[in-house]
């Protein structure tokens, strides 16, 4: 019998955290800092409106683009919050989470052989999605010395005549780095000079603790060559609802819509109804969650530095990305030993690509009590080395 698995599927590496997953399932009393999602429940008004809509029989497909009411509300929200201008009828698609948005964005712009630059460390699905689209992922390393921002010089070195697109994600998973307007301007010049399309995953845009998030498409003349991806998962604690959105100039948006309608048809309607309610009246809930993350960040990052894991201050998202180099272990060894000996689960930085090695990702989207206990265990672990 032939091997039926396609070359492309074979080419994608297996998940780097699978091993940890299997290990943690055999253990008890583990504090997990390995989860990239809010620990809050979805605000009840959002749940309630969705439940009500199901009771009313709102269970059909929506239009491919998504509910008109949601797109209109989003269009207003983006303008008001980030000065982003997108036409709700021509430049916007509601997707099944940002994951789908990312996939269709990449497929909409990538031809076989195209090189797609990826600012790393990054979320784990960028490179595999590029591979699946027939493109060639090209990592661009962001380093701690630059506070994990994308350095234009490093980017310039990686650009070739085959470069087609650049994927960035700020506030960043896993580093918590943020790019301010000036930082983005330096990158914008290169992107424009080399005629690249920019895919900007801004799913953590609401979780920016020092200053208001700067939307990539509002910088310089980037709008006409930017695909903005965002969603409700992180800001409104709605990870399981799978609602994201893709915004782009009409030509790109039409292409992405074709792919979306064939592979997804539409995002789940009950999730879309919930998202409308989130925009309508969950501002307070969102703010209080963001506030709580800020308090936890301050407490946790101070704690990491105190126990001997140097950590830059992450300005956004809900991840701390301390260095474990001084312990003499690789990030994977450190994560494995910490889990086995002190039952604290973290994700090794190398999982997130170039620049991640020597670091671990700790999600502080867990209760303060658990964070305190995790710090206590990490301290015991380190003092025993």
């Amino acid at each position: 019998m032939r091997n039926f698995v396609s070359g492309r599927a074979q080419e994608i590496p297996p998940s780097g955290i699978r091993k940890f997953f299997d290990l943690v399932l055999t253990m008890e009393d583990v504090i997990s800092l390995g989860v990239g999602e809010p620990d809050f429940r979805t605000p009840w008004n959002i749940c309630e409106s969705s439940i009500y809509s199901i009771e009313q029989g709102t269970t059909s497909y929506t239009s491919n683009r998504g509910l008109q009411s949601l797109r209109d509300a989003l269009s207003r929200h983006l303008l008001q919050q980030y000065h982003l201008q997108y036409d709700s009828n021509q430049e916007m698609i509601i997707t099944s989470g940002v994951s789908e948005g990312l996939d269709i964005a990449i497929r909409a712009v990538t031809d076989p052989g195209d090189e797609v630059l990826i600012a790393q460390p990054s979320y784990v699905s960028y490179a595999p999605c590029v591979t699946l689209a027939g493109g060639k992922p090209v990592p661009v390393r962001c380093i701690e010395k630059d506070h994990f921002k994308l350095n234009p010089d490093t980017l310039a070195e990686k650009i070739t005549r085959k470069s087609k697109a650049l994927i960035i994600n700020f506030p960043n998973n896993p580093t918590g780095a943020v790019m301010a307007e000036d930082d983005l301007k330096a990158v914008a010049d290169l992107v424009i000079d080399h005629d690249l399309v920019l895919i900007s995953d801004e799913v953590y845009s609401e979780l920016s603790y020092e200053k208001r998030h700067c939307a990539t498409a509002t910088v310089s003349d980037l709008w006409e060559r930017t695909i903005t991806l965002n969603g409700f998962s992180k800001a409104y604690a709605m990870t399981g609802w799978r609602i994201g959105y893709l915004c782009a100039p009409r030509g790109i948006c039409d292409a992405a819509l074709k792919i979306h309608q064939y592979v997804m048809l539409c995002a789940p309607v009950m999730g879309q109804v919930g998202a409308v309610e989130a925009l309508r009246s969950s501002e307070e809930d969102k703010n209080s969650m963001v506030n709580e993350y800020r308090l936890r960040r301050n407490m946790f990052v101070a704690g990491l530095n105190r126990v001997g894991l140097p950590c830059h201050v992450p300005e956004g998202a809900f991840y701390a990305f301390p260095s474990v180099e001084k312990t003499g272990f690789s990030d994977t060894e450190f994560a494995e030993k910490l889990l086995k000996e002190q039952r604290v689960a973290v994700v090794p930085g190398s999982v997130f690509g170039d620049g991640g090695e020597g670091h671990i990702r700790c999600a502080y989207a867990v209760s303060r009590k658990d964070l305190t206990e995790a710090l206590r265990r990490i301290e015991i672990f380190i003092s025993g080395l």
Binding site: S15, I17, F20, F21, V24, L25, V30, S32, G34, V35, G36, E37, D39, R41, Y123, V124, S125, N173, N291, L295, R296, N298, M299, A302, G303, A345, V347, V351, F352
Partner: protein, 163 residues
Amino acid sequence: MDEKDLELLRILEENSRLSVDEIATMTNLSQEEVEGRVMALEAARIIKGYSTVVNWEKAGNGEVSAIIELKVSPERDFGYDRIAERLSRFRQVKTLRLITGTYDLQLIVTGKNMQEVSRFVSEHVAPMDRIRETATHIIMKSYKENGNTFFEQPETERLPYSP
């Protein structure tokens, strides 16, 4: 009052048992500043005290609580304030508010048992001058107090890892 004060109030309202050290780390303020600000808020009587939310039903001390609503004839020059102040002096009155609607004042009263509560209402509250009518509602069960729910919510299942 500035944004930092409001932040301290929010933190303390949720959990007043945090140490100054913990609060200082969370808010990026020095310990001295946290202490100074909290003392100022106490002095200004913005912080009125520190208490604990207790589920008495679960503690099983058998106390009962009632919501008492009163129709009151307001006094010239003083409105409801003087009578409210008199009522608030009773130890049994835990909460007292002026409200809109059919009734004017709303009290939450606690006592060892139903008899004690009803005796308090009939002997001390109802006969007071200017009180025209009372309505007593015994609280049968509390589901939520000060933002804290009193029923167990099942732990939601979270993946141990997600990228």
